[in-house]
Amino acid sequence: MADKPGKKKTIPRQAMAEQEPEVRRRNFEEVPLGYTMEQAQMEASRCLQCRKPGCTSGCPVSVDIPGFIQCILEGDMTAAIRNLWGKNALPAVCGRVCPQEIQCEGECILGKKGDPVAIGNLERFAADYERAHGSGELPPKLPPTGKKVAVVGSGPSGLTVAGDLIAKGHDVTIFEAFHKAGGVLVYGIPEFRLPKAIVGQEVHFLERLGVKIECNAVVGRTVSLDELFEEGYDAIYLGVGAGLPRFMNIPGENLVGILSANEYLTRANLMKAYKFPDVDTPIPIGKNVTVLGAGNVAMDSARTAMRLGADSVRIVYRRSRQEMPARAAEIHHAEEEGIEMMLLTNPTRYIGDEKGRLTGMECIQMELGEPDDSGRRRPVPIPGSELEIECDLCIVAVGSGANPLLTQSTSDLQLNKWGYIMTEPNTGKTFKRGVWAGGDIVTGAATVILAMGAGRKAADSIHEYLVYGW
């Protein structure tokens, strides 16, 4: 498959410069600093240009990875970004937040014996280069079809659908419940991992293409799906996200000082509470912080708490390191920043003072038993291993469920037993005519890129429906 493996393997994977851990753990600036052109081309030269590229099949939106890497190698940055845009409307975002190690880079042939090509870093480089030096020239658009599409939610799947359909000549309006567009990219993922200026620019790019964005529009409350059809929309895409925080359901959970990760991160990211009192939204500052859960959201919460000045931040997770669902890079960054991992530990109750404020937590140690439904070994409590930990702030990051706000007000959508919207897997079609859905409200909480993949499929199906009527 490889052309000249022997020669190219000798160049090591180019590391991206980062802020030093001791510095960055107390600021909100982005952690990795980006490649120089020289580094990017050096890294690009490691690509073997496989004829059957595993990386592309490992990508949920099938980016032509060898193609854009070749453009970087040749120094044609306009071609590189055009190539990426062909499959991915949000390359600056995906380069930063995709779990590359289990997708494109996980399939890279170089990874079999050494380090895979740093595909995420190169994607980020191409997108950042376009923002800094690009001509700003828009990709081509098909002539107007006269069809109107409403996209509900401006997260990664909604933005993908909007980008795909506007390019195909449809009239697209996004409805966003918050006062700012971007969904989880603005309220969930912190500034130090995904600068909000980048999300703003990706959203602005869609607006330049002609996408209209209506913020403060809570579909299901401000306007219903049937009213959108009455207003002349021909198709609707629902990408509203999961958006219902799960709690532990253990005693003491309503003490002051226990927040869902959704609330904590929304305060920090969307409301910019880390700048309080220069902005008006406060955020609790913990001295000893615990974060429950071990996914990306848990890492984001822990690293935010550290940046807000905590003395200690602990991740409390009931399984072992191997089962931690976060991206490898996030766990690595968190540990470098001094975040402690209390693994195989599960909280059993919260402890508070007479003012109703959190002061600590009782936990029990766990061991791994037989595999459960998810295939992971089930954690089982070890009798008599109870321990108490001191904490004044606890962030609960144990996942989210389906937010019922929209689905409850739309009786003809079919939901599964967890409240997620049922769709035809290949098209995203729901049981309601003219309505598609994708992303976390269909699959449950997943990743940015999977939501984008669902958006891509739905956009293709919506386009066929609008043009051919099926």
């Binding site: 403060n216 869902s260 609330e263 009192p277 008006d280």
Partner: protein, 278 residues
């Protein structure tokens, strides 16, 4: 921008009324529902239950007490100015039904929330007695509107400067004793709702209260507004804001409302210092 078309100062300028242009929200708003307002880019999202919505004019009315930085900032907005963001209508509307004899009890700015509910309950064919209270005569709001919206109005002041001398709970207890009440709706400061609910519970009168806990998004996403109702955790923004008054854990709610009191004080004081210097 959501423009303010009418503005009033009430209760010695401690309470402000804003009628705001928001046709899409006004079209849908029902008694008991709330909106979230944000004044500017750096502003906080503040939930306020609506006092009125006018479909023809495309406006909604909120009435708020100035208690901190955000409401002090709202107070500076004049007719012609506006809010950067208004989101709604949020929460479940009040269940309006003909049940017979209804008492609507309001304290402080809770009267503003109570007003559209009182009106709707009367229009549904109920005999509505309204009891409204304030610390003194000057702090009383919406007396005329409440008189019009109800069949009978009882006014109370804590200091006796007007109407009945005492708390709203006194006439409420008298009415409960008479024994013909089918429903009570209590809206006001948490201690008022707590004590008034205790009375209606003694007499087995079904009771609704409207809660206003701390929240961020108002759509069920953050869980900041969780309240214990009958031992279960509910989100006031999507499960409420109205709940069975006999089942709410008011003590927990009061503690949770204090979550940011230090931060709020700091923010308000620095705002007042800057404002007074300018």
């Amino acid at each position: 921008m959501f423009k303010i078309v009418h503005r009033e100062e009430m209760a010695d300028a401690t309470v402000i009324l804003n009628e705001i242009e928001a046709p899409l929200i006004a079209r849908k708003a029902k008694p008991g529902q709330f909106v979230i307002l944000k004044a500017n880019e750096e502003g906080e999202r503040i939930p306020l239950t609506m006092a009125e919505a006018n479909v023809e004019k495309g406006t909604l009315t909120v009435i708020y007490m100035v208690v901190g930085k955000s409401t002090a900032l709202f107070k500076t907005l004049q007719v012609g100015d506006g809010y950067q963001d208004v989101i709604g209508p949020l929460g479940k509307p009040t269940h309006i039904e003909k049940v017979g004899n209804v008492v609507c009890v309001g304290g402080g700015t809770g009267v503003a929330v109570l007003y559209p509910i009182t009106k709707a309950m009367k229009e549904a064919g109920n005999h509505v007695t309204a009891i409204i209270g304030a610390r003194n005569k000057d702090l009383l709001i919406l007396e005329d509107k409440m008189r019009e919206a109800s069949n009978e109005l009882i006014v109370c002041t804590d200091d006796g400067s007007y109407g009945h001398h005492g708390f709203v709970t006194d006439p409420l207890r008298e009415m409960c004793e008479k024994g013909s009440l089918n429903q009570a709706i209590l809206i006001g400061p948490v201690p008022m709702m707590k004590f008034a609910s205790k009375i209606t519970e003694e007499y087995d009168v079904p009771t609704l209260v409207s809660l206003n806990p701390i929240m961020v998004d108002g759509t069920g996403m953050c869980g900041g507004c969780r309240v214990s109702v009958g031992g279960e955790t509910k989100f006031a923004c999507v499960d409420g804001p109205e709940f069975d008054g006999h089942k709410v854990d008011y003590d927990e709610l009061m503690l949770r409302l204090q979550a940011y009191c230090e931060e709020e004080k700091q923010c308000y004081e620095s705002y007042c210092t800057i404002r007074d210097a300018v």
